[in-house]
Protein backbone atom coordinates (compact mmCIF):
# COMPACT_ATOMS: atom_id res chain seq x y z
CA UNK A 1 0.00 0.00 0.00
CA UNK A 2 2.77 2.29 0.88
CA UNK A 3 4.61 1.51 -2.33
CA UNK A 4 1.50 2.24 -4.41
CA UNK A 5 1.21 5.54 -2.63
CA UNK A 6 4.79 6.41 -3.43
CA UNK A 7 4.24 5.50 -7.10
CA UNK A 8 1.22 7.76 -7.20
CA UNK A 9 3.24 10.47 -5.54
CA UNK A 10 6.03 9.92 -8.00
CA UNK A 11 3.50 10.05 -10.80
CA UNK A 12 2.14 13.25 -9.47
CA UNK A 13 5.48 14.88 -9.44
CA UNK A 14 5.99 13.82 -13.12
CA UNK A 15 2.62 15.26 -13.92
CA UNK A 16 3.58 18.45 -12.10
CA UNK A 17 6.62 18.73 -14.27
CA UNK A 18 4.59 18.37 -17.44
CA UNK A 19 1.92 20.81 -16.33
CA UNK A 20 4.61 23.23 -15.30
CA UNK A 21 6.32 22.95 -18.71
CA UNK A 22 3.05 23.39 -20.55
CA UNK A 23 2.16 26.42 -18.51
CA UNK A 24 5.50 28.04 -19.21
CA UNK A 25 5.19 27.14 -22.90
CA UNK A 26 1.78 28.77 -22.98
CA UNK A 27 3.24 31.90 -21.43
CA UNK A 28 5.93 32.00 -24.13
CA UNK A 29 3.27 31.58 -26.80
CA UNK A 30 1.30 34.46 -25.39
CA UNK A 31 4.29 36.76 -25.15
CA UNK A 32 5.94 35.48 -28.33
CA UNK A 33 9.50 36.79 -27.94
CA UNK A 34 11.01 38.29 -31.07
CA UNK A 35 13.54 35.48 -31.55
CA UNK A 36 10.71 32.93 -31.71
CA UNK A 37 8.56 35.01 -34.04
CA UNK A 38 11.66 35.35 -36.24
CA UNK A 39 12.02 31.57 -36.31
CA UNK A 40 8.35 31.17 -37.22
CA UNK A 41 8.57 33.65 -40.07
CA UNK A 42 11.77 32.11 -41.43
CA UNK A 43 10.29 28.61 -41.20
CA UNK A 44 7.14 29.66 -43.00
CA UNK A 45 9.08 31.49 -45.67
CA UNK A 46 11.49 28.64 -46.36
CA UNK A 47 8.84 25.92 -46.20
CA UNK A 48 6.46 27.73 -48.51
CA UNK A 49 9.27 28.48 -50.95
CA UNK A 50 10.46 24.87 -50.93
CA UNK A 51 6.88 23.62 -51.33
CA UNK A 52 6.40 26.02 -54.23
CA UNK A 53 9.56 24.81 -55.98
CA UNK A 54 8.68 21.19 -55.27
CA UNK A 55 5.34 21.74 -57.00
CA UNK A 56 6.95 23.68 -59.82
CA UNK A 57 9.21 20.74 -60.61
CA UNK A 58 7.21 17.85 -59.17
CA UNK A 59 3.90 18.38 -60.98
CA UNK A 60 5.43 18.52 -64.46
CA UNK A 61 7.25 15.32 -63.57
CA UNK A 62 3.96 13.77 -62.47
CA UNK A 63 2.32 14.80 -65.78
CA UNK A 64 5.30 13.52 -67.71
CA UNK A 65 5.02 10.14 -65.98
CA UNK A 66 1.29 10.13 -66.71
CA UNK A 67 1.62 10.69 -70.45
CA UNK A 68 4.96 8.95 -71.00
CA UNK A 69 5.00 5.68 -72.87
CA UNK A 70 8.77 5.37 -72.71
CA UNK A 71 10.32 2.00 -72.01
CA UNK A 72 12.10 3.52 -69.05
CA UNK A 73 8.95 4.84 -67.49
CA UNK A 74 8.74 1.95 -65.05
CA UNK A 75 12.26 2.62 -63.85
CA UNK A 76 11.53 6.31 -63.50
CA UNK A 77 8.34 5.72 -61.54
CA UNK A 78 10.20 3.35 -59.22
CA UNK A 79 12.90 5.95 -58.72
CA UNK A 80 10.40 8.69 -57.95
CA UNK A 81 8.50 6.46 -55.56
CA UNK A 82 11.74 5.49 -53.87
CA UNK A 83 12.43 9.19 -53.51
CA UNK A 84 9.50 9.24 -51.10
CA UNK A 85 11.51 7.07 -48.77
CA UNK A 86 14.84 8.81 -49.36
CA UNK A 87 16.48 9.40 -45.96
CA UNK A 88 16.65 13.19 -45.51
CA UNK A 89 20.15 12.98 -44.05
CA UNK A 90 21.36 11.35 -47.27
CA UNK A 91 19.81 14.12 -49.34
CA UNK A 92 21.31 16.59 -46.89
CA UNK A 93 24.71 14.99 -47.27
CA UNK A 94 24.54 15.17 -51.06
CA UNK A 95 23.47 18.81 -51.04
CA UNK A 96 26.22 19.49 -48.49
CA UNK A 97 28.84 17.89 -50.76
CA UNK A 98 27.64 19.89 -53.78
CA UNK A 99 27.56 23.17 -51.90
CA UNK A 100 30.68 22.70 -49.78
CA UNK A 101 33.72 24.78 -50.67
CA UNK A 102 35.34 21.87 -52.56
CA UNK A 103 32.07 20.88 -54.21
CA UNK A 104 30.97 21.71 -57.78
CA UNK A 105 28.72 24.53 -56.56
CA UNK A 106 31.08 25.70 -53.81
CA UNK A 107 31.72 29.04 -55.49
CA UNK A 108 28.14 30.08 -54.94
CA UNK A 109 28.80 30.16 -51.18
CA UNK A 110 25.38 28.80 -50.42
CA UNK A 111 26.24 26.42 -47.62
CA UNK A 112 24.73 27.45 -44.27
CA UNK A 113 22.36 29.91 -45.94
CA UNK A 114 18.55 29.78 -46.18
CA UNK A 115 18.99 29.05 -49.89
CA UNK A 116 20.76 25.79 -49.05
CA UNK A 117 17.81 24.80 -46.85
CA UNK A 118 15.35 25.54 -49.64
CA UNK A 119 17.43 23.47 -52.08
CA UNK A 120 17.56 20.45 -49.76
CA UNK A 121 13.90 20.70 -48.85
CA UNK A 122 12.88 21.09 -52.50
CA UNK A 123 14.81 17.94 -53.37
CA UNK A 124 12.93 16.14 -50.61
CA UNK A 125 9.60 17.60 -51.71
CA UNK A 126 9.83 16.82 -55.44
CA UNK A 127 9.39 13.03 -55.12
CA UNK A 128 6.46 13.54 -52.77
CA UNK A 129 4.68 15.86 -55.21
CA UNK A 130 5.60 13.77 -58.26
CA UNK A 131 4.73 10.42 -56.77
CA UNK A 132 1.42 11.40 -55.16
CA UNK A 133 0.56 13.68 -58.09
CA UNK A 134 1.13 10.82 -60.53
CA UNK A 135 -1.05 8.55 -58.42
CA UNK A 136 -3.76 11.23 -58.35
CA UNK A 137 -3.71 11.53 -62.15
CA UNK A 138 -3.82 7.76 -62.53
CA UNK A 139 -6.97 7.67 -60.43
CA UNK A 140 -8.84 9.49 -63.22
CA UNK A 141 -9.90 6.93 -65.85
CA UNK A 142 -7.88 7.26 -69.05
CA UNK A 143 -11.16 7.26 -70.98
CA UNK A 144 -11.75 10.75 -69.66
CA UNK A 145 -8.61 11.96 -71.40
CA UNK A 146 -9.75 10.27 -74.60
CA UNK A 147 -13.27 11.63 -74.25
CA UNK A 148 -11.95 15.16 -73.76
CA UNK A 149 -9.92 14.85 -76.94
CA UNK A 150 -13.03 13.40 -78.56
CA UNK A 151 -14.87 16.57 -77.60
CA UNK A 152 -12.27 18.60 -79.44
CA UNK A 153 -9.94 19.58 -76.60
CA UNK A 154 -6.31 20.05 -77.47
CA UNK A 155 -3.93 17.76 -75.62
CA UNK A 156 -2.94 20.59 -73.29
CA UNK A 157 -6.54 21.54 -72.58
CA UNK A 158 -7.39 17.91 -71.90
CA UNK A 159 -4.50 17.54 -69.43
CA UNK A 160 -5.53 20.74 -67.71
CA UNK A 161 -9.10 19.53 -67.32
CA UNK A 162 -7.77 16.24 -66.05
CA UNK A 163 -5.75 18.10 -63.44
CA UNK A 164 -8.93 19.84 -62.31
CA UNK A 165 -10.57 16.43 -62.00
CA UNK A 166 -7.65 15.09 -60.00
CA UNK A 167 -7.39 18.18 -57.83
CA UNK A 168 -8.14 16.54 -54.50
CA UNK A 169 -5.31 14.08 -55.06
CA UNK A 170 -3.04 16.87 -56.31
CA UNK A 171 -3.84 18.97 -53.24
CA UNK A 172 -3.06 15.97 -51.08
CA UNK A 173 0.35 15.85 -52.77
CA UNK A 174 0.94 19.52 -51.91
CA UNK A 175 -0.10 18.93 -48.30
CA UNK A 176 2.13 15.90 -47.98
CA UNK A 177 5.06 17.80 -49.44
CA UNK A 178 4.52 20.76 -47.13
CA UNK A 179 4.24 18.38 -44.18
CA UNK A 180 7.48 16.64 -45.10
CA UNK A 181 9.25 19.95 -45.67
CA UNK A 182 8.17 21.86 -42.57
CA UNK A 183 8.94 18.90 -40.30
CA UNK A 184 12.34 18.26 -41.86
CA UNK A 185 15.31 18.27 -39.41
CA UNK A 186 18.26 16.19 -40.59
CA UNK A 187 18.99 17.76 -43.95
CA UNK A 188 18.18 21.25 -42.67
CA UNK A 189 20.62 20.83 -39.83
CA UNK A 190 23.37 19.65 -42.18
CA UNK A 191 23.11 22.26 -44.91
CA UNK A 192 21.64 25.11 -42.88
CA UNK A 193 23.87 24.83 -39.88
CA UNK A 194 21.21 25.98 -37.41
CA UNK A 195 22.64 29.47 -37.13
CA UNK A 196 20.49 31.65 -34.84
CA UNK A 197 18.51 34.31 -36.69
CA UNK A 198 19.85 33.07 -40.03
CA UNK A 199 19.12 29.42 -40.63
CA UNK A 200 17.47 28.29 -37.43
CA UNK A 201 13.98 26.99 -38.18
CA UNK A 202 11.31 25.52 -35.90
CA UNK A 203 12.50 21.93 -36.09
CA UNK A 204 16.17 22.64 -35.57
CA UNK A 205 15.31 25.11 -32.82
CA UNK A 206 13.29 22.40 -31.05
CA UNK A 207 16.35 20.12 -31.18
CA UNK A 208 18.58 22.79 -29.71
CA UNK A 209 16.17 23.88 -27.00
CA UNK A 210 15.55 20.29 -25.93
CA UNK A 211 19.27 19.59 -25.74
CA UNK A 212 19.73 22.66 -23.62
CA UNK A 213 16.97 21.56 -21.29
CA UNK A 214 14.71 24.50 -22.12
CA UNK A 215 11.73 22.26 -22.55
CA UNK A 216 9.16 25.01 -22.27
CA UNK A 217 10.66 26.78 -25.27
CA UNK A 218 10.89 23.51 -27.20
CA UNK A 219 7.27 22.76 -26.38
CA UNK A 220 6.17 26.23 -27.45
CA UNK A 221 7.96 25.83 -30.77
CA UNK A 222 6.49 22.37 -31.25
CA UNK A 223 3.00 23.75 -30.66
CA UNK A 224 3.58 26.44 -33.26
CA UNK A 225 4.87 23.86 -35.74
CA UNK A 226 1.78 21.79 -35.19
CA UNK A 227 -0.57 24.76 -35.53
CA UNK A 228 1.14 25.89 -38.77
CA UNK A 229 0.70 22.45 -40.28
CA UNK A 230 -2.95 22.33 -39.27
CA UNK A 231 -3.66 25.80 -40.66
CA UNK A 232 -1.94 25.03 -43.97
CA UNK A 233 -3.76 21.73 -44.34
CA UNK A 234 -7.06 23.32 -43.37
CA UNK A 235 -6.98 25.60 -46.39
CA UNK A 236 -5.98 22.85 -48.76
CA UNK A 237 -8.52 20.43 -47.33
CA UNK A 238 -11.22 23.01 -47.90
CA UNK A 239 -10.15 23.33 -51.51
CA UNK A 240 -10.00 19.56 -51.74
CA UNK A 241 -13.42 18.75 -50.36
CA UNK A 242 -15.37 17.16 -53.14
CA UNK A 243 -18.92 18.21 -53.61
CA UNK A 244 -21.50 16.09 -55.30
CA UNK A 245 -20.65 12.86 -53.56
CA UNK A 246 -23.04 10.13 -54.50
CA UNK A 247 -26.23 10.74 -52.56
CA UNK A 248 -26.42 7.13 -51.45
CA UNK A 249 -23.10 7.48 -49.65
CA UNK A 250 -24.90 8.82 -46.59
CA UNK A 251 -27.10 5.74 -46.59
CA UNK A 252 -24.37 3.12 -46.82
CA UNK A 253 -25.21 0.21 -44.56
CA UNK A 254 -21.96 -0.06 -42.68
Amino acid sequence: MASLFSILLQGRSDLDFLIYTFAKALKILLVLPSDISGIILLTLELSLLATFFSCLLGFPLAFYLYISTSRFKGVLVTLVNSGLAAPPVVVGLLVFLFLSRQGPLGELNLLYTPAAIVIAETLLGIPVVASLGYAALLSIPAEKLFQLLGWGATFKQALLKLAVEARSGLFAAVMAAFGAIISEVGAVLMVGGNIPEQTRVLTTAIVVETRMGRFERALALATILFVLTVVFNYFFTRAQSSRGDATWKQHIWR
Binding site: P141, E143, G150, W151, G152, V164, E165
Partner: protein, 360 residues
Protein backbone atom coordinates in the same frame (compact mmCIF):
# COMPACT_ATOMS: atom_id res chain seq x y z
CA UNK B 1 -15.03 12.61 -108.24
CA UNK B 2 -15.84 14.18 -104.95
CA UNK B 3 -13.17 13.76 -102.33
CA UNK B 4 -14.05 11.58 -99.40
CA UNK B 5 -14.54 13.16 -96.00
CA UNK B 6 -12.30 10.62 -94.31
CA UNK B 7 -10.17 8.00 -95.95
CA UNK B 8 -7.83 5.31 -94.68
CA UNK B 9 -5.07 3.80 -96.78
CA UNK B 10 -2.89 0.80 -95.98
CA UNK B 11 -3.74 1.24 -92.36
CA UNK B 12 -2.24 -1.16 -89.89
CA UNK B 13 -2.40 -0.88 -86.16
CA UNK B 14 -1.05 -3.62 -83.96
CA UNK B 15 -0.86 -4.05 -80.26
CA UNK B 16 2.19 -6.00 -79.24
CA UNK B 17 0.80 -7.15 -75.94
CA UNK B 18 -2.39 -8.75 -77.24
CA UNK B 19 -1.36 -9.68 -80.76
CA UNK B 20 -4.40 -7.84 -82.12
CA UNK B 21 -4.02 -6.13 -85.48
CA UNK B 22 -6.43 -3.84 -87.26
CA UNK B 23 -5.82 -3.83 -90.99
CA UNK B 24 -7.63 -1.61 -93.45
CA UNK B 25 -6.13 -1.54 -96.96
CA UNK B 26 -8.56 1.12 -98.17
CA UNK B 27 -11.67 2.70 -96.78
CA UNK B 28 -13.56 5.90 -97.60
CA UNK B 29 -16.35 7.75 -95.86
CA UNK B 30 -18.27 10.29 -97.90
CA UNK B 31 -19.35 13.66 -96.57
CA UNK B 32 -22.80 13.46 -95.01
CA UNK B 33 -22.74 9.70 -94.97
CA UNK B 34 -24.37 7.64 -92.24
CA UNK B 35 -22.00 4.74 -91.86
CA UNK B 36 -22.61 1.88 -89.48
CA UNK B 37 -19.62 -0.15 -88.37
CA UNK B 38 -20.89 -3.50 -87.21
CA UNK B 39 -18.76 -5.99 -85.39
CA UNK B 40 -18.58 -8.29 -82.42
CA UNK B 41 -16.61 -7.57 -79.27
CA UNK B 42 -12.90 -7.52 -79.96
CA UNK B 43 -13.32 -7.11 -83.71
CA UNK B 44 -11.42 -3.81 -83.67
CA UNK B 45 -14.32 -1.38 -83.56
CA UNK B 46 -12.94 0.78 -80.79
CA UNK B 47 -9.49 0.85 -82.35
CA UNK B 48 -11.04 2.02 -85.60
CA UNK B 49 -12.95 4.66 -83.65
CA UNK B 50 -9.77 6.00 -82.05
CA UNK B 51 -8.01 6.08 -85.40
CA UNK B 52 -10.86 7.77 -87.28
CA UNK B 53 -11.21 10.25 -84.41
CA UNK B 54 -7.50 11.06 -84.82
CA UNK B 55 -6.89 10.08 -81.22
CA UNK B 56 -4.55 7.26 -81.94
CA UNK B 57 -1.64 7.50 -84.30
CA UNK B 58 -1.62 4.49 -86.61
CA UNK B 59 1.66 2.56 -86.69
CA UNK B 60 1.40 2.16 -90.48
CA UNK B 61 -0.67 3.77 -93.17
CA UNK B 62 -2.28 7.08 -93.90
CA UNK B 63 -5.37 9.00 -92.94
CA UNK B 64 -6.86 11.61 -95.27
CA UNK B 65 -9.24 14.33 -94.16
CA UNK B 66 -11.08 15.95 -97.06
CA UNK B 67 -8.39 14.68 -99.37
CA UNK B 68 -5.51 16.04 -97.30
CA UNK B 69 -3.10 13.65 -95.73
CA UNK B 70 -2.93 14.05 -91.97
CA UNK B 71 0.66 14.20 -90.87
CA UNK B 72 1.73 16.84 -88.38
CA UNK B 73 0.57 17.06 -84.80
CA UNK B 74 -0.60 20.60 -85.41
CA UNK B 75 -2.81 19.41 -88.24
CA UNK B 76 -4.20 16.70 -85.99
CA UNK B 77 -5.26 19.22 -83.35
CA UNK B 78 -6.98 21.48 -85.86
CA UNK B 79 -8.80 18.61 -87.57
CA UNK B 80 -9.68 17.01 -84.26
CA UNK B 81 -11.51 20.21 -83.41
CA UNK B 82 -13.92 19.34 -86.24
CA UNK B 83 -14.46 15.74 -85.16
CA UNK B 84 -16.54 14.63 -82.21
CA UNK B 85 -16.03 11.18 -80.78
CA UNK B 86 -18.19 9.48 -78.19
CA UNK B 87 -16.39 6.77 -76.29
CA UNK B 88 -17.83 3.48 -75.30
CA UNK B 89 -17.44 4.13 -71.60
CA UNK B 90 -19.90 6.62 -70.11
CA UNK B 91 -17.86 9.51 -68.69
CA UNK B 92 -18.46 13.19 -68.21
CA UNK B 93 -16.41 15.74 -66.32
CA UNK B 94 -16.66 16.03 -62.56
CA UNK B 95 -19.29 18.56 -61.56
CA UNK B 96 -22.84 19.42 -62.48
CA UNK B 97 -24.32 18.57 -65.85
CA UNK B 98 -24.81 22.30 -66.40
CA UNK B 99 -21.10 22.90 -65.84
CA UNK B 100 -20.22 20.12 -68.25
CA UNK B 101 -22.33 21.79 -70.92
CA UNK B 102 -20.67 25.13 -70.19
CA UNK B 103 -17.13 23.75 -70.31
CA UNK B 104 -17.55 21.72 -73.47
CA UNK B 105 -19.50 24.43 -75.28
CA UNK B 106 -16.68 26.86 -74.51
CA UNK B 107 -14.22 24.29 -75.81
CA UNK B 108 -16.32 23.74 -78.91
CA UNK B 109 -17.15 27.43 -79.36
CA UNK B 110 -20.81 26.59 -79.33
CA UNK B 111 -23.51 29.11 -78.50
CA UNK B 112 -26.26 29.16 -75.91
CA UNK B 113 -29.06 28.45 -78.35
CA UNK B 114 -27.39 25.26 -79.52
CA UNK B 115 -26.91 24.12 -75.93
CA UNK B 116 -30.57 24.78 -75.20
CA UNK B 117 -31.63 22.90 -78.31
CA UNK B 118 -29.60 19.84 -77.34
CA UNK B 119 -30.79 20.01 -73.73
CA UNK B 120 -34.39 19.90 -74.85
CA UNK B 121 -33.80 17.29 -77.56
CA UNK B 122 -32.10 14.88 -75.15
CA UNK B 123 -34.46 15.89 -72.32
CA UNK B 124 -31.70 16.92 -69.93
CA UNK B 125 -33.69 19.65 -68.14
CA UNK B 126 -34.08 17.64 -64.95
CA UNK B 127 -30.45 16.59 -64.89
CA UNK B 128 -28.90 20.06 -65.26
CA UNK B 129 -28.27 20.57 -61.55
CA UNK B 130 -27.22 17.03 -60.81
CA UNK B 131 -23.59 16.19 -60.12
CA UNK B 132 -21.82 13.68 -62.33
CA UNK B 133 -21.62 11.22 -59.46
CA UNK B 134 -25.35 11.33 -58.91
CA UNK B 135 -26.12 10.14 -62.42
CA UNK B 136 -26.75 6.57 -63.44
CA UNK B 137 -24.61 5.15 -66.22
CA UNK B 138 -27.50 5.56 -68.64
CA UNK B 139 -28.02 9.20 -67.69
CA UNK B 140 -24.28 9.84 -67.92
CA UNK B 141 -24.31 8.32 -71.38
CA UNK B 142 -27.09 10.62 -72.59
CA UNK B 143 -25.33 13.72 -71.22
CA UNK B 144 -22.09 12.52 -72.81
CA UNK B 145 -23.90 12.10 -76.11
CA UNK B 146 -25.40 15.59 -75.94
CA UNK B 147 -21.93 16.99 -75.23
CA UNK B 148 -20.61 15.17 -78.29
CA UNK B 149 -23.03 17.03 -80.54
CA UNK B 150 -22.00 20.47 -79.27
CA UNK B 151 -20.34 22.90 -81.64
CA UNK B 152 -21.65 21.46 -84.89
CA UNK B 153 -18.72 19.09 -85.59
CA UNK B 154 -18.19 17.95 -89.17
CA UNK B 155 -17.78 14.32 -88.23
CA UNK B 156 -19.57 12.52 -85.39
CA UNK B 157 -18.24 9.16 -84.31
CA UNK B 158 -20.36 7.23 -81.84
CA UNK B 159 -18.95 4.09 -80.25
CA UNK B 160 -21.81 1.92 -78.98
CA UNK B 161 -23.91 4.93 -77.95
CA UNK B 162 -26.84 2.85 -76.75
CA UNK B 163 -24.94 0.65 -74.33
CA UNK B 164 -25.96 1.07 -70.67
CA UNK B 165 -29.47 2.13 -71.68
CA UNK B 166 -32.71 0.29 -71.10
CA UNK B 167 -34.54 -1.08 -74.10
CA UNK B 168 -37.05 1.75 -74.36
CA UNK B 169 -34.39 4.44 -74.07
CA UNK B 170 -32.23 2.60 -76.58
CA UNK B 171 -34.82 2.70 -79.32
CA UNK B 172 -35.69 6.26 -78.47
CA UNK B 173 -32.07 7.33 -78.56
CA UNK B 174 -31.53 6.20 -82.13
CA UNK B 175 -34.37 8.49 -83.19
CA UNK B 176 -32.85 11.33 -81.19
CA UNK B 177 -29.45 10.79 -82.76
CA UNK B 178 -30.95 10.88 -86.22
CA UNK B 179 -32.74 14.10 -85.31
CA UNK B 180 -29.57 15.65 -83.91
CA UNK B 181 -27.39 14.81 -86.90
CA UNK B 182 -27.52 17.46 -89.60
CA UNK B 183 -27.45 16.49 -93.28
CA UNK B 184 -24.02 18.07 -93.68
CA UNK B 185 -22.57 16.07 -90.81
CA UNK B 186 -20.91 12.75 -91.38
CA UNK B 187 -21.98 10.09 -88.92
CA UNK B 188 -20.00 6.99 -88.05
CA UNK B 189 -22.06 4.75 -85.82
CA UNK B 190 -20.30 1.80 -84.25
CA UNK B 191 -22.31 -1.04 -82.80
CA UNK B 192 -22.47 -4.77 -82.28
CA UNK B 193 -26.24 -4.76 -82.53
CA UNK B 194 -27.76 -5.95 -85.76
CA UNK B 195 -31.05 -4.12 -85.30
CA UNK B 196 -29.23 -0.79 -84.89
CA UNK B 197 -27.26 -1.45 -88.04
CA UNK B 198 -30.54 -2.19 -89.82
CA UNK B 199 -32.16 0.94 -88.48
CA UNK B 200 -29.35 3.30 -89.29
CA UNK B 201 -27.24 1.99 -92.05
CA UNK B 202 -27.43 3.19 -95.56
CA UNK B 203 -23.92 1.89 -95.63
CA UNK B 204 -22.67 -0.80 -93.32
CA UNK B 205 -19.10 -1.94 -92.81
CA UNK B 206 -18.66 -5.22 -91.00
CA UNK B 207 -15.51 -5.62 -88.96
CA UNK B 208 -14.22 -9.05 -88.21
CA UNK B 209 -10.95 -9.96 -86.52
CA UNK B 210 -9.52 -6.54 -87.28
CA UNK B 211 -10.49 -6.53 -90.94
CA UNK B 212 -13.37 -5.01 -92.85
CA UNK B 213 -15.09 -8.18 -93.99
CA UNK B 214 -17.66 -6.40 -96.14
CA UNK B 215 -19.03 -2.97 -96.76
CA UNK B 216 -21.85 -1.51 -98.78
CA UNK B 217 -25.61 -1.20 -98.59
CA UNK B 218 -27.29 -3.39 -95.97
CA UNK B 219 -28.64 -5.77 -98.61
CA UNK B 220 -25.22 -6.24 -100.16
CA UNK B 221 -23.55 -6.72 -96.82
CA UNK B 222 -26.09 -9.18 -95.51
CA UNK B 223 -26.00 -11.17 -98.69
CA UNK B 224 -22.25 -11.31 -99.01
CA UNK B 225 -21.68 -12.01 -95.35
CA UNK B 226 -24.43 -14.44 -94.60
CA UNK B 227 -22.18 -17.03 -93.01
CA UNK B 228 -20.27 -14.58 -90.85
CA UNK B 229 -23.44 -12.88 -89.73
CA UNK B 230 -24.99 -16.25 -89.05
CA UNK B 231 -22.12 -17.01 -86.72
CA UNK B 232 -22.72 -13.76 -84.91
CA UNK B 233 -26.44 -13.37 -84.85
CA UNK B 234 -27.81 -16.83 -85.53
CA UNK B 235 -29.65 -18.04 -88.60
CA UNK B 236 -31.46 -14.95 -89.79
CA UNK B 237 -32.58 -13.33 -93.01
CA UNK B 238 -32.70 -9.62 -93.55
CA UNK B 239 -34.88 -7.85 -96.12
CA UNK B 240 -35.31 -4.21 -97.05
CA UNK B 241 -38.50 -2.63 -98.28
CA UNK B 242 -40.99 0.23 -98.19
CA UNK B 243 -43.81 0.49 -95.70
CA UNK B 244 -47.23 0.21 -97.35
CA UNK B 245 -49.43 0.61 -94.31
CA UNK B 246 -49.48 0.19 -90.56
CA UNK B 247 -52.37 -1.19 -88.57
CA UNK B 248 -52.36 -2.03 -84.86
CA UNK B 249 -48.63 -2.68 -84.81
CA UNK B 250 -48.88 -4.91 -87.86
CA UNK B 251 -46.88 -3.45 -90.73
CA UNK B 252 -47.23 -4.27 -94.38
CA UNK B 253 -43.99 -3.81 -96.26
CA UNK B 254 -43.41 -4.16 -99.95
CA UNK B 255 -40.20 -6.07 -100.70
CA UNK B 256 -39.40 -6.41 -104.41
CA UNK B 257 -43.10 -6.20 -105.19
CA UNK B 258 -44.09 -8.82 -102.61
CA UNK B 259 -46.14 -7.60 -99.67
CA UNK B 260 -45.05 -8.98 -96.32
CA UNK B 261 -46.56 -8.38 -92.92
CA UNK B 262 -44.64 -8.21 -89.70
CA UNK B 263 -44.56 -6.75 -86.20
CA UNK B 264 -43.40 -3.17 -85.91
CA UNK B 265 -40.40 -2.67 -83.61
CA UNK B 266 -40.41 1.07 -84.24
CA UNK B 267 -43.01 3.70 -85.01
CA UNK B 268 -43.44 3.42 -88.75
CA UNK B 269 -45.34 5.39 -91.35
CA UNK B 270 -46.37 4.51 -94.87
CA UNK B 271 -43.70 5.36 -97.41
CA UNK B 272 -40.77 4.98 -95.00
CA UNK B 273 -38.11 2.44 -95.65
CA UNK B 274 -37.95 -0.51 -93.33
CA UNK B 275 -35.78 -3.50 -92.58
CA UNK B 276 -37.34 -6.89 -91.96
CA UNK B 277 -35.71 -9.60 -89.96
CA UNK B 278 -36.77 -13.19 -89.33
CA UNK B 279 -35.18 -16.39 -88.15
CA UNK B 280 -34.49 -18.84 -90.92
CA UNK B 281 -36.23 -21.63 -89.03
CA UNK B 282 -39.45 -19.60 -89.06
CA UNK B 283 -39.81 -20.22 -92.80
CA UNK B 284 -42.14 -23.04 -93.85
CA UNK B 285 -41.77 -24.47 -97.34
CA UNK B 286 -44.45 -26.32 -99.30
CA UNK B 287 -45.29 -27.30 -102.84
CA UNK B 288 -48.86 -25.99 -102.70
CA UNK B 289 -50.11 -22.60 -101.70
CA UNK B 290 -52.54 -21.97 -98.90
CA UNK B 291 -54.20 -24.12 -96.32
CA UNK B 292 -52.97 -22.19 -93.29
CA UNK B 293 -53.54 -18.90 -91.50
CA UNK B 294 -50.08 -17.68 -92.43
CA UNK B 295 -50.29 -14.19 -93.91
CA UNK B 296 -47.04 -14.17 -95.80
CA UNK B 297 -46.93 -16.80 -98.50
CA UNK B 298 -45.09 -16.28 -101.76
CA UNK B 299 -43.46 -18.26 -104.50
CA UNK B 300 -39.67 -18.44 -104.31
CA UNK B 301 -36.90 -19.78 -106.52
CA UNK B 302 -34.17 -21.89 -104.96
CA UNK B 303 -30.58 -20.76 -105.39
CA UNK B 304 -28.99 -23.68 -103.62
CA UNK B 305 -28.80 -25.70 -100.44
CA UNK B 306 -26.15 -26.94 -98.06
CA UNK B 307 -26.03 -28.96 -94.87
CA UNK B 308 -25.71 -26.88 -91.75
CA UNK B 309 -22.37 -27.47 -90.10
CA UNK B 310 -22.72 -28.98 -86.66
CA UNK B 311 -26.46 -29.62 -86.97
CA UNK B 312 -26.99 -33.16 -88.25
CA UNK B 313 -29.73 -33.47 -90.82
CA UNK B 314 -30.56 -29.76 -91.06
CA UNK B 315 -30.12 -27.96 -94.36
CA UNK B 316 -29.98 -24.28 -95.19
CA UNK B 317 -31.79 -23.44 -98.41
CA UNK B 318 -31.03 -20.13 -100.08
CA UNK B 319 -33.49 -18.43 -102.41
CA UNK B 320 -32.71 -15.89 -105.10
CA UNK B 321 -36.22 -14.81 -106.05
CA UNK B 322 -38.28 -12.75 -105.38
CA UNK B 323 -35.53 -11.60 -103.00
CA UNK B 324 -32.61 -13.19 -101.22
CA UNK B 325 -33.50 -15.11 -98.07
CA UNK B 326 -32.77 -18.39 -96.39
CA UNK B 327 -34.73 -21.18 -94.77
CA UNK B 328 -33.78 -24.08 -92.52
CA UNK B 329 -35.38 -27.45 -93.22
CA UNK B 330 -34.70 -31.07 -92.36
CA UNK B 331 -33.17 -33.55 -94.73
CA UNK B 332 -36.44 -35.38 -95.18
CA UNK B 333 -38.25 -32.17 -96.13
CA UNK B 334 -35.45 -31.42 -98.55
CA UNK B 335 -36.00 -34.76 -100.25
CA UNK B 336 -39.78 -34.54 -100.09
CA UNK B 337 -39.75 -31.10 -101.77
CA UNK B 338 -36.92 -32.22 -104.09
CA UNK B 339 -35.08 -28.98 -103.51
CA UNK B 340 -32.52 -28.14 -106.17
CA UNK B 341 -31.34 -24.93 -107.84
CA UNK B 342 -34.11 -23.36 -109.90
CA UNK B 343 -36.90 -25.24 -108.13
CA UNK B 344 -40.01 -23.21 -107.34
CA UNK B 345 -41.66 -23.66 -103.94
CA UNK B 346 -44.04 -21.71 -101.73
CA UNK B 347 -42.49 -20.08 -98.68
CA UNK B 348 -44.51 -18.95 -95.68
CA UNK B 349 -43.45 -16.87 -92.70
CA UNK B 350 -45.84 -16.01 -89.88
CA UNK B 351 -46.32 -12.28 -89.50
CA UNK B 352 -45.54 -12.67 -85.79
CA UNK B 353 -42.10 -14.05 -86.71
CA UNK B 354 -41.07 -11.02 -88.74
CA UNK B 355 -39.69 -7.98 -86.95
CA UNK B 356 -39.83 -4.71 -88.80
CA UNK B 357 -37.43 -1.86 -88.00
CA UNK B 358 -37.49 1.69 -89.15
CA UNK B 359 -34.60 2.22 -91.50
CA UNK B 360 -33.28 5.79 -91.54
Amino acid sequence: METAHLALKNLKQSYGSTGFTLEVPFFEIETGQRLVVLGENGSGKSTLVRILGLLERPSFGEIYYRGKKVTSNKQVESIRAKIATLFQRPVILAGKVRKNLELISTLRKSDRSEVEKLVSLFELEDLLDRFDRELSLGQTRIVQLALTFLGNPEVIILDEPTSFLDEQRRKNLIELIMQAVKPSQTLIYVTHRLDEALRLGRKIAVLKNGKIAASGSPEVVFTSLKDELTNLYGEISVLKGKVVNVENGLVTVSVNGIQLQGLAEDRLNAGESAALLFRNDAVVLSLKKGGSSVRNTFEAVVEGSEPLVGAGGVYRVAFKQPFYFQALITRSSLEQLSIEPGKRVFASVKASSIRVYKSF
